[in-house]
Subunit: 97 residues, 2 copies
Amino acid sequence: METESTCPAETLLKLLSGKWKPQIFKLAVEGPLRFNSLLRQLEGSNKQSVAVALKELEEQGLLDKTIIKLKPLHIEYNLSEKGKTMIPVFMQLENLA
Amino acid sequence: METESTCPAETLLKLLSGKWKPQIFKLAVEGPLRFNSLLRQLEGSNKQSVAVALKELEEQGLLDKTIIKLKPLHIEYNLSEKGKTMIPVFMQLENLA
DNA sequence: TCAATTAGTCAGAAAAACCTGACCTCAAAA
DNA sequence: TTTTGAGGTCAGGTTTTTCTGACTAATTGA
């Protein structure tokens, strides 16, 4: 993933660039994500790509990763505050289709 | 460039996916484009990539290609109506930076 | 203790995107 | 009539992204 650019919109588009990030982001808007169930929802995807996408979305500050220390101990990904600020743009994008 | 997707936002993001499309789109918002001058403005770019990006943006319906039959006969790319509907989203994207 | 589930990592291969340099067409200027 | 500028195309190679399959670690249930 490249980072530098002089065009702000380009930078933003890059946040959701990649084959799986837009879909993952959309699902994150709908609710918390967990690795294996996400993998099953993204038809044609694979562990590696989903893992990388999740890690990048987390590094970019769009998702928060939480370890849930209950019953079968799992990990949850939720939209961060920064992620939430992107919802309106994302929605506008959907309505343009 | 892939096309099919079930996520509308993804489809839209794809319209501006690729190394040069966001910059080209931005410049198109500012005014008509011509091939060689565009090439000079996009530092580090090359004929092939710019030609492909322009062709795709045109196919996607974001740019209109016009042959200007005057004096030195040239070709102009302008934002289409569909392209114009994307300006607000694009601007919002810029403000998120 | 053995198997299953969750959440990954890693190396290597395959596919997609991008770049380079040579070449082409058309029109006008020298 | 050779050169120049605009606007490209094309083959081939490099770089980036994505995918595959094997493997790991922690926890839990049988």
